[in-house]
């Protein structure tokens, strides 16, 4: 799959206005989703996914080809991978003092989405970020499967999103929160929602106006991507009266893990 998107920032003070405008443009009220995102990183030396594909009770059969595709990508280079769990502020947050009323997330039982995104294509004077992505739905046990495949847990964040759809266009406002430090593992109890520390002290929102291009059956994808590019530019003409889209250097979306330093004289192993 390929995704193309434009990026802008929306100030906290402008958030309600932005939502109202987007609601008018999309004829829908915003869908609020909150994800707990666990980040994993592969070894510097790319080895793909070492283990066999997870059994069907962990990874549905329909999603098995995606696993094979991800394996191919991870052979070229190691990447940062994301495991996203949808959470609810009412039941999943509350800290230790409210442990009785909130549930502790059991990663071995909860469904999650494994997200991988490639380094975006070069911009070529376009404000559109365009990159490959793979999203694999897991029924359960995603962190365990990742660790078995030599992907190490590094950190976690909370992602709060408000999304709108207009035709194929996906408009997402999101912002991120830090979770308290924990030694090399996801924390046991999520703190109270109000105690989350925003990644951005000014609590800005990030706006993505996005189009997805499904992986074509064989050829035709470059044409589809060109078409999507044109469609996105048309939408940009409309949206840029409202939002100040920024050209983002693709290095900020770099998910690759730097390969090990090659010692001169020995050559690559």
């Amino acid at each position: 799959m390929h995704e193309l998107f434009l990026t802008a920032s929306v100030k906290q003070g402008d958030f309600d206005t932005a939502c109202a405008v987007l609601q008018g443009l999309s004829w829908m009220t915003a869908r609020r989703t909150i994800y707990r995102v666990l980040f994993f990183a592969g070894q510097p030396q790319p080895k793909g996914l070492a283990g066999p594909p997870p059994p069907p009770n962990v990874l549905p059969r329909a999603a098995q080809p995606l696993w094979a595709e991800l394996h191919k990508q991870l052979l070229r280079s190691s990447y940062v991978l994301q495991a996203a769990y949808e959470v609810s502020p009412e039941t999943d947050f509350g800290g230790k003092e409210n442990a009785a009323t909130t549930t502790t997330m059991d990663f071995t039982r909860l469904p999650a989405t494994l997200r991988w995104t490639d380094l975006p294509d070069p911009l070529r004077d376009s404000p559109i970020t365009s990159r490959k992505k793979i999203e694999i739905p897991f029924l359960n046990s995603l962190p365990r499967v990742l660790m078995e495949n030599k992907q190490a847990y590094i950190n976690e964040l909370i992602q709060e999103s408000y999304s709108f759809n207009r035709g194929d266009l996906e408009i997402v406002l999101s912002r991120y929160y830090h979770l308290p430090e924990s030694q090399g593992r996801p924390i046991q109890h999520l703190p109270a929602w109000a105690d989350l520390r925003p990644v951005d002290p000014a609590q800005k929102w990030m706006l993505h106006v996005k189009l997805n291009v499904a992986a074509g059956d064989g050829g035709g994808q470059p044409e589809k991507i060109t078409k999507a590019n044109e469609e996105l530019m048309r939408n940009k003409a409309e949206f840029e009266k409202l939002f100040d889209f920024k050209v983002i250097d693709r290095r900020f979306f770099d998910t690759r893990i730097a390969p090990p330093v090659v010692i001169p004289g020995r050559g690559p192993p």
Partner: protein
């Protein structure tokens, strides 16, 4: 004809003049009739057309007279020797009269007076020029005064009033009752930040699914900022930094 002592050419000039005069006379008569007969007066277009015709006729006569000026100043008119001068004396006197008749003369004088009073551009008559100059000066004085007053008022506005958020009317009514559409006071800039902070705090719990999202919760302290980034309180992190953290889970590595 030879007794007149005029050659063919000269006779033709006289004859032309006669014809033109006859035309002019006819045109004048026609206009006169129109003015007398029509009630109300002929419309403006028709009068203008008549004036054009008269003007044309007069111009034609003028041209002929100018061309034959030499001839006309030379020839003299006298009655033929066999003209019955005694019986037709009145006609003879009228025909040979050189001065205009008194009423015509009066009309001519009136005409030249009217002409003199007409403000033709470029006409150099000292009386009218002085008059015009006075009028111009008076007008200029008025406009200069107006300009000065305006400038003074604008300066006063820029210096003292421009920064005022309220109109004089609103001030009279009392600014506490003015509906600005804002929660904060327009005058007090320092309240600004506090208000924004309040809104932020209120947003947190409300977004977090509070039972009453409209309730403003103002006594909860703001979320503690990261020690390293506390100086970025106003602008916050850059978009790129946020994107990088969102992409990789942390800024480094």
């Amino acid at each position: 004809m030879s007794s007149l002592g005029l050659n063919q050419e000269e006779l033709k000039a006289v004859e032309q003049t006669r014809q033109r005069l006859a035309q002019l006379s006819a045109s004048i008569n026609s206009l006169k009739n129109d003015v007398f007969v029509s009630n109300p007066l002929p419309n403006l277009d028709s009068l203008q057309a008549s004036a054009d015709i008269l003007n044309h006729n007069i111009a034609a006569i003028h041209e002929i007279m100018a061309q034959n000026n030499d001839l006309f100043s030379r020839i003299a008119i006298h009655p033929s020797t066999n003209f019955p001068g005694r019986t037709q004396e009145n006609v003879l006197l009228q025909l040979l009269r050189k001065k205009p008749e008194p009423e015509v003369e009066a009309a001519m004088e009136e005409g030249s007076k009217a002409l003199a009073n007409m403000p033709f551009p470029g006409q150099t008559q000292f009386g009218t020029v002085n008059q015009n100059k006075e009028k111009e000066d008076a007008l200029e004085n008025i406009w200069t005064a107006a300009r000065e007053v305006c400038q003074e008022r604008i300066t006063e506005y820029v210096v003292t009033e421009e920064s005022d958020s309220y109109t004089a009317e609103e001030r009279e009514m009392g600014i506490d009752n003015v509906r600005t559409g804002l929660q904060r006071s327009l005058d007090d800039e320092s309240e600004d930040e506090e208000d924004e902070m309040d809104m932020d705090e209120a947003d947190g719990p409300a977004a977090g699914g509070s039972a009453e999202p409209d309730l403003m919760i103002i006594d909860r302290p703001p979320p503690p900022p990261a020690p390293a980034v506390s100086t970025q309180e106003v602008e916050g992190a850059t978009l790129e930094t946020i994107l990088r953290i969102a992409t990789r889970g942390q800024f480094t590595r």
